[in-house]
Amino acid sequence: MNFDPRYSGRNFTSVGTRPIRPDGVDKVTGRARYGADFNMAGQLVGRVLRSPHAHATIRKIDTSKAEKLNGVKAVITAADLPDLTDGDAAMYDILDNCMARKKALYDGHAVAAVAAVDARTARQALKLIEVDYEVLPHVTDVDEAMKHTAPLLNDAIFTEGLEEKPVRPSNVTKRTQFGHGDVHEGFGQADYVVERSFKTEQTHQGYIEPHACVASVSADGTADLWVCTQGHFVYRQHCAQLLGMEASKLRVTSSEIGGGFGGKTHVWAEPVALALSRKAGRPVKLVMTRDEVFRASGPTSATSIDVRIGARKDGTITAAEATLRYSCGPYAGMWAEIGAMTAFACYRLENVRTVGYEVLVSRPKTAAYRAPSAPMAAFAVESAVDELAKEIGMDPVEFRIKNAAQEGTRSSYGPVYGPIGIGPTLEAAKNHPHMKAPLGKNQGRGMACGFWFNFGGQTCTDLNIGMDGSVSLAVGTVDVGGSRASLSLVAAEELGIAYEQVKAVVADTSSLGYNDMTDGSRGTFSSSMATISAARNAIKILRERAAQMWDIPLDDVVWEKGHAIAKGEKYGNLAALSLREIAAASGKTGGPIAGHSELVADGAGVSFATHVCDIEVDPETGATRVLRYTVVQDAGKAVHPTYVEGQYQGGAAQGIGWALNEEYIYGKDGRLQNPGFLDYRIPVCSDLPMIDTQILEIPNPNHPYGVRGVGETSIVPPLAAIANAVSNAAGVRMTHIPMSPPRILAAIEAERGG
């Protein structure tokens, strides 16, 4: 049956309510099983040896002593993970990142691994592995890495995207450019121009659960993998490819996931655990320590961004341009490209140009972090926008409203917008009581806007109706924050039954067709679309069965409120058949009743948010306090509003940490100096106020219920909103994130001195 994904207005019964999530009781009683909570009989403990050097050639690895230690069952190096990537450069990078092949490329890069009978033996074995390194010069700073004098991290890299192919290799892997109009002409029309340079430091997603998996490879070549991941189907594909297996022979089960935020979209330890298990002939459990999580997984890019924006006296922006340099770690990425696409996406611009540079540095491979690349670009652009408004003498909200993108606007990255929420979020922020609340001494208010694309992707869902009329919903998108609740609501809505009658599970890779991972804010968007489609397919069968039971034509049977109804006066005596009644008879009417759906969820509606915050700055110490925080964001349609609020609040809190405190600190030796939660300090309860939320619902025309993704946009505005608030409070423009007390103090003192 053809599925029509277009939005059609309707009155909701289940969608929009706030029931308790189906996985909730297990999570408050300690029963829920996360990555490290699973064990197999005969399981070994795996551990990874990591490079202490930021850049070094691996001359030789001697594992013989470790292999002889009693209790050691397998030791592996890159030689045990032969290159099967067949010219696929991206997969080769993943392989090399899992286990260094010729060179160690960052402090923490895996070089060998062991499987032993217990953790202590495994730790001892690591100490017995001898690695002969030739230490090479390294570079960790994004601007330093771009210089011609910088140590070259990969001499096979020649910058792509230049007009002429370069003759010399470079740490810049790619240049990209977006925009339209004539920026030069636009700046010529400007009465005011603001030009600024900004820097942001590298942060980590900071999920509380370290990466963990249990791998079991059988002698017949089949394997099982239990793992905390945002995308078990993608993990299966990558692991199978790297280990030379057929995907169908590897069953991957996603555990409950203790946070991911983009950081659990890439394999690191899983191919290593599988290779260890293959060699040892026993299951292997591999759990990262927190130190390893910081040194070897994540993080986001460090950036250096120049922005220039011009406007007329009346507040119309005439031209905008930005140059964005993003660190990628030691492997090519597309992080600056995404930053360049998002930078000016909130605005209606005639002349705009952004240029992105992807830069290799001696740091861990950059991974996605919630709306990856967008927060840094927004920090730079929204800071300059605020400054420009101030120069013109306009209120920063009015200035943004005047220039906000609208339906029909050609976005700075190309596409023309449909119905969007940037204007409404700005209007809502303008009218919010927060905007009128008085401020005290040393306090400042800041605001900023944010944009994220959202993603749809490949999705497969099964909806099975039991003989008792209860509904099992099997989805393939990992539940990172309540999607089993929202998808159960959607199934209940479509079928016209109670939420409690539906039980949603995340199916393993052998039980369901391929699903892209839970990223791009796609979990609820795409799987709800597939759930609606599956439910509609099931309803067609339910109608057929009712027609059969009544012996009337299918076209005379309609589905309403969980019942088949015979339409027409001639059927006046036929009582409606409930889903339960039809299900109970299914054994005699054609067998089990189910609805399936396989689709590509196109048309993820773009998402916009506006944040407002009040910050107090202590001018003596540079310390800050977040006094008040308000998030306004378009959800399209909030399926489970409480969890939508949770996404808004969580993104804001992560952004607050990024803006004020979190950063990777490298020593001159290229080693990470703060790989732990004590020194890489994420916000704690006492650091934050309540985070107020306002959900706007501007329906996405490409989803039956109007749903848009909501997970990521909330981290885009905070860096800029807080920077604007701090700048207003301290009386000096802050241009370097995080705005830790020493940086704020230095800025205040420089302003006083100057």
């Binding site: 829920a32 490290a36 509380i208 949770g646």
Partner: protein
């Protein structure tokens, strides 16, 4: 290394186990006793995901040796509900959606239980500082604070 024999009380039950002298109580709970409700988020006492109550004192079980539990009382998340009756904090965490991924939740519940045992009527600020030893990366703490406030008022009325 020879194992250490330990006799202790966990969630009211007498429990005996053998552990290595350098083994943490968290590892004993998780790997020897199958009580995986306490999580290891850091192993250095910074995240609070492994919070338990040891003789009426809130501790990170990753900073306690298994051998130190000898003769003491250990309370873990597995002992918080009474049969199928949830503790008011557990119920309020569900009602307020005070969890997203849920991996920090057992630690927060134990810490909140300890907080309310010592201060049945905390202010918002007291809750925020009382729970400052527990990291949550998903919620921004807003709904956690509200759940604890709500649970406190229910427990006072009980």
């Amino acid at each position: 290394m020879a194992g250490v024999a330990v006799l202790t009380t966990i969630n009211g039950d007498n429990v005996e186990y053998l552990c290595q002298p350098d083994e943490t109580l968290l590892d004993v709970l998780r790997d020897r006793l199958g009580l995986t409700g306490a999580k290891e988020g850091c192993g250095t006492g910074d995240c609070g995901a492994c919070s338990i109550i040891l003789d009426d004192r809130l501790v990170c079980s990753c900073l306690v040796l298994g051998a130190e539990a000898e003769g003491r009382r250990v309370e873990t998340i597995e002992g918080m509900a009474h049969g199928d009756r949830l503790h008011p904090l557990q119920q309020k965490f569900l009602e307020h959606a005070a969890l997203q991924c849920g991996v920090c939740t057992p630690g927060f519940l134990i810490a909140a239980k300890d907080l309310l045992a010592k201060n049945p009527d905390p202010t918002e600020e007291e809750i925020r500082f009382g729970l400052a030893g527990n990291l949550c990366r998903c919620t921004g703490y807003d709904k956690i604070v509200r759940a604890v406030q709500d649970a406190a008022s229910v427990m006072k009325g009980a």
